[in-house]
Symmetry: C2
Subunit: 306 residues, 2 copies
C-alpha cells in the first residue's frame, strides 16, 4: 500500500527523510511522526522548536506539542511545558487515554515527570542571548518572530493517518500562553477516512478560523487537497483583513487519505514532501491572488527561510 | 432588530432570563453573555461551574472559560485557573488582544491578578465534602460526573453574535487538564455572519470532532439550525461508537444569525431559549434515532436534571 509524509519548513528536511525511511519499511505512522519531529526538537539551531527554542516574556522556554491518531480520533496535547526534552513524545503518550488528553503547565510537567520522560533545560546560551538583546530593544519592535511550528502529517502502509506538532510558540509570549499547536482542529487534525492537516504561523489567527479542521471539511465537501488547503487559508486571510484590517502569517499542510498533498499559505513557506512514488523534495509555496504557487527547490542551501 | 439567547442546562434559567432582559433593552450581546454566565458562576449550588465547582484530583477547583466575539472572531480563554471569581470575565478581557488570547494555569492567574480581577476561593465546604467522599470510594467508580458547562450563545439587536462558556471541568480531573471549553472550535465558536455554537459534555469527546465549528460548517452548507446541530452530534457520536465502541455524553446549542436555534445531544439535555418573539422557555432535548426530540418543560421544578 502507498504511504506519504509532509512536513513544515526546511528545518524538517532531515526529519522528513527519516520519517519517509520508516514509512517505506512499513513501520507505523505514529513512529514516523515522533521520530521526524524529535529530529527538529533536538536541534538547537532551530529557534522555534524544542532545544534552543526562544523563551517567553520571563525568559523561560515553554513548549507546546500535540499528536493525533486518525483511526480512533484520540489525541494528546501539552501546553506551556518546561524542562522536558520532547513535547511530541509526551503528547503521544497522552493520546492513549480516554480522559485528560490535554494538559497544561505544571500538570503537563507532573505527568511527564511521573511517566519518566527525559528532562532537559531547553534554554541554550544562544537563545538566552537573543532574548536579552530583544528585551533591551525598543518596545516598538515586533516581538513575534520565530513562531514556526514543526508539523508532520503522514499516511502509513496500513492506511492509518497521524499528525504531530511541536513548538516553543511565540517569542516573548505571555506566561502560560497557549497557541494553536496543542488545540485540536486549529493546529492539527487527522481522520484516516478523510485526511490529515496541521498549521504553522500566528496561532491566535489560526484559531480564529479553526484552520486544520476547516481545510479537512473542504476536502470532505469534494475539493481537491490543494483547493481544500489554499481555500482554507485564503478565506480566513480575507475574512481577517475584512474584519480586522490585517491577517497575520499562517500556513497549512494537508494530506488526503491516498497520500496526495495540498498546501495553503499567505507568506513564503517552504515544506517537504515524500511518498512511495516521490523521494523527499523541498518545495516553496507562495501566496498569489488567493491561490498558492508551489515550486520544487533544487538547491536547498539557496533557500533563505528555515 | 431581532435578538435571541440560548443557554445550557436548567441551571442557566435565571442567567438566561437576565441576559434576555439586557438584549431586549438593546444592550450589547457581550454584556448579556457575561452577566448570564456570572449568575451561574456565583451560585454555589451548581457543582460544575465557578463557586462550589467540583475539584480536581488534588482537591483544587481549577476553572476554564472562554468568550468569542463573532464580529471580529477575536476570542479569549483561560484554562486551569485557580482563585478568581469569574473565568468568563477574564476570558472576555483577553479577547481584546491580538496575541496571547488563551492563557493556562499560572499564566492565567498572573494575568487576572495584574488586571485586578476579583479573587475568590471557589472550593466550598460542600464541594470539599463531595471530594473527600468520592476519594474514599472504590477506584472502579466513574469519577467523571458533573461535567456540565454553562454555555451562552446570543444574537443582539446590533446583529452581533457572541458565545461564552464557563466550567470547573471534569470532577477529579488531572492537574492542568484542559477540556473543550477554552478550545476554539470545540467548546465554542461564533461568527456573526453565520451563527454561534457551544458545547457541553465530555470535553475529550467533543474535541475529537471539533463539535461547535463542525455544526456551524453544517449550517454554512445549507442545513437548518436544528439539522446542523443534531447532525454534528449524531455523526460524531456514531463515529466514536464505530471506532472506539463508545461515545460519551455531548450536547450542543446553536443559533443562526437570525436567532433561530438548533440543539443536538446524545443524552437527556435541558436548555433555555429566549428571543424577541418568545419569552424564556426551558426545553428538554432527548436523543432519538440520531435526531433530537425537543419538548418545552411546563413545570421547571419537575425536571430532575440541573
Amino acid at each position: 500500500m502507498t504511504w506519504a509524509v509532509i512536513s513544515t519548513w526546511k528545518m524538517s528536511w532531515k526529519g522528513c527523510t527519516l520519517a519517509a525511511d520508516l514509512l517505506r519499511q512499513g513501520l507505523r505512522g505514529s513512529e514516523a511522526v515522533i521520530r521526524g519531529i524529535q529530529d527538529v526538537e533536538d536541534n538547537p539551531e532551530f529557534r522555534s522548536v524544542g532545544y534552543g527554542g526562544l523563551p517567553d516574556e520571563e525568559g523561560r522556554v515553554l513548549l507546546d506539542g500535540a499528536f493525533m491518531n486518525g483511526d480512533s480520533l484520540h489525541f494528546g496535547a501539552v501546553a506551556a511545558m518546561e524542562g522536558f526534552r520532547s513535547p511530541i513524545a509526551v503528547a503521544h503518550s497522552l493520546a492513549k487515554y480516554d480522559f485528560n488528553n490535554f494538559l497544561a503547565g505544571k500538570g503537563a510537567e507532573k505527568y511527564a515527570a511521573e511517566n519518566g520522560f527525559e528532562r532537559r533545560n531547553n534554554l541554550t546560551e544562544e537563545s538566552r542571548a537573543i532574548y536579552e538583546k530583544k528585551r533591551g530593544e525598543s518596545q516598538s519592535l515586533s516581538a513575534y518572530d520565530g513562531h514556526d511550528t514543526v508539523c508532520f502529517a503522514v499516511l502509513d502502509q496500513m492506511g492509518s493517518m497521524y499528525t504531530g506538532v511541536s513548538t516553543s510558540g511565540l517569542f516573548l509570549k505571555k506566561c502560560g500562553r497557549v497557541g494553536d499547536s496543542p488545540v485540536a482542529g486549529s493546529g492539527f487534525y487527522a481522520d484516516s477516512r478523510l485526511g490529515a492537516a496541521c498549521a504553522t504561523g500566528v496561532g491566535e489567527e489560526i484559531m480564529k478560523g479553526v484552520l486544520s479542521y476547516n481545510a479537512l471539511r473542504n476536502l470532505k465537501a469534494g475539493m481537491s487537497p490543494q483547493e481544500a488547503a489554499e481555500t482554507a487559508v485564503s478565506e480566513l486571510s480575507e475574512t481577517l483583513i475584512q474584519r480586522n484590517g490585517k491577517a497575520r502569517s499562517m500556513s497549512l499542510i494537508l494530506l488526503d487519505n491516498r497520500g496526495n498533498f495540498g498546501v495553503g499559505t499567505n507568506i513564503r513557506f517552504p515544506f517537504v514532501y515524500a511518498a512511495e512514488t516521490s523521494s523527499s523534495t523541498l518545495y516553496l509555496a507562495e501566496a498569489e491572488n488567493g491561490r498558492c504557487r508551489i515550486t520544487p527547490v533544487e538547491d536547498k542551501d539557496s533557500l533563505d527561510i528555515d
